[in-house]
Symmetry: C3
Subunit: 259 residues, 3 copies
């Protein structure tokens, strides 16, 4: 039994998610379907790219991940299959697969006979993406449904900047608890005390897990992706600090002048 994950901005009040699943189960009946989220803010490619790359490593080898966040649906934008060593990723060629594409072989789907026809030309999730995912779930290889490309659309890169006494990165996600997830790998930080600053706010408290924190105290710790996370025990730090995805975060420390 193969696994399909599904990530969309369809919400949960429409029939769209169910229609995609129905088509997959029609074409690839023995599929185990797991939702990542359908609550992506409509058209927010960066949020979808983050969630996809965060969830994917937990899934079994051979999983097919389908991401349908597609504001240009129906236009000429390509449909991509990205193959990494261990999984397949299907999505529109609009940057939503960016974090995956670095280490993937990328195919543009060209075998349009596998698509369904309508009704309408607005629901590619049901009519195109679901059949592509189903083909992979049935064991077809990317080469059999398209041709290799080297120029997929990428989201603009915002690199993390390393200097002698500081690292500058960004908030990439605010989670339900108000934790601020950054793109700064904790392995890049020195041992010992660091100061983490976001706008006018900052904290010098460093922890290893939430249970250690005192109520009302902001602190930094290694989050579940190995990157720096900012958290406040019992409070929604993002609201408290008015912080949001995209904000810059600076980690600084005293360097030892004698070494």
């Amino acid at each position: 039994m193969r696994v399909l994950t599904l990530l969309t901005d369809f919400g949960e009040t429409d029939y769209y998610v169910a229609a995609v699943k129905g088509v997959v189960l029609t074409l690839a009946p023995e599929t185990q379907i797991v939702d990542i989220s359908h609550q992506v803010v409509p058209g927010n490619l960066a949020e979808a790219a983050f969630l996809l790359s965060a969830a994917a490593p937990s899934f079994p080898a051979g999983t097919v991940h389908l991401a349908v966040v597609d504001p240009g649906v129906g236009s000429a934008r390509r449909i991509l299959v990205a193959e990494t060593g261990s999984a397949f990723f299907v999505g529109p060629d609009n940057g939503v697969l960016t974090p995956i594409l670095r280490d993937a072989a990328v195919t543009e789907v060209t075998r349009s006979e596998i698509f369904r026809t309508g009704p309408g030309q607005t629901f590619h999730g049901r009519d195109r993406f679901a059949p592509v995912a189903a083909a992979l779930l049935r064991g077809e290889l990317p080469a059999s449904i398209g041709r290799r490309i080297e120029d997929p659309v990428l989201l603009p890169l915002r690199p993390v900047r390393q200097e002698a006494d500081r690292i500058t990165g960004h908030i990439v996600h605010v989670d339900r608890y108000g934790n601020l997830v950054t793109d700064i790998p904790v392995s890049w930080l020195p041992e010992g005390p660091v100061r983490v600053q976001r706008g006018a706010q900052s904290t010098s408290i460093r922890a290893t897990h939430y249970g250690e924190l005192r109520a009302g105290q902001p602190a930094s710790l290694e989050g579940s992706l190995g990157t720096l996370e900012l958290s406040m025990q019992g409070e929604h730090l993002a609201s408290r600090w008015s912080a949001k995805a995209g904000d810059e975060v600076v980690v600084s420390w005293r360097t030892n002048p004698s070494v």
Copy 2:
């Protein structure tokens, strides 16, 4: 492995959806369960009927669709099984199955031995509907659990009206993106320009897919059910126009006086 879809107004903060699934998996273990939605506005039969009829065609033959939107739960209203050529639909006899009933053989469930008993008499989703769905999923036929009827309750019909130079229909659904889905089949419209009016607002722009639209411009296109849809690129048209399900929509065009 058979597929069960589930559509309710139970929401996602209670244990109700899980209890229904638990009973189904107890009685019909090899079932693949797919949620359509549990966010139907409590008691909104028209919304549920729309979602059910929109999602069902995408599912494999033999799928059992269970719709539990049932404000009169516990009263004497009947429990129905509707059988179309390709699927089974289970729901209360309150109109929620209306769009399905036109072409279906309808059975009232009378074999009450298959029901569970309580606790309480308020949770028919768990105690009655789930066992009925499970019986069908195990391969029982409607005839073995009830008797044919010809008088199911139907929601009031609001027909689409065709005239020489216009068609009058309705908004049947507002989706997450603010698109206005109507009940007007696009195949009924002439080729070429049409004017689509809803209250004081209107548009004469016609498109085939969202990617074509310019920001802030309302347009009509063929939606994913083959009916006319109104959409505005990058904006929630329903909010912008204060439009809602039930509103009347008029499509008009110039007729050629010489033909």
Copy 3:
């Protein structure tokens, strides 16, 4: 195929739920996963305990129920497996399993080799609870992954008080429809009229199901757990009465002085 239920306060906008499921499907591929809810108010152990104990009885024998509501994640709090005659329950030792523990054999998980290592120490749902659930789903017994304990953490008990002419209990849950679910077993009440009071509001109307109620009239009935429930037809009674989980409810009746 074994069933796993999942109950968390992770919400549905993060990748957390998917990551837990991915690990389970990696370690125990043939698992059928059913969500109870992921909308528990962050850290609300009483709400989670209620939902878990309400949903569990509907599931097949052998089901593994995993509850991750864990504000102290990463601290030294233990990880528990509770085994009842018919199911396994996995959760942190913080009281979330309270209603289950009364009749269960309780094991503290000590075989840490089954845990995954990070990234980070903040996501025990993915790194510890999921592997424990997967071990049970693969057929391992609690004894093989831990040691029996007798002192699990319990939520404070708020007993229902019985007197000659009254019973005092509490609202334990407000459901989506605004119904007030109490902890007062209906089997403890006398036949005939009772008065149900919550703060300054009360009702003397007793019903067996919602369909009986008249619009705008509050009434009491036997809910889907066998306990007393307060409901108002077509209205959200909790909003109307400003009632919430934890509020005291008093049921009183006239005793017959001659008996």
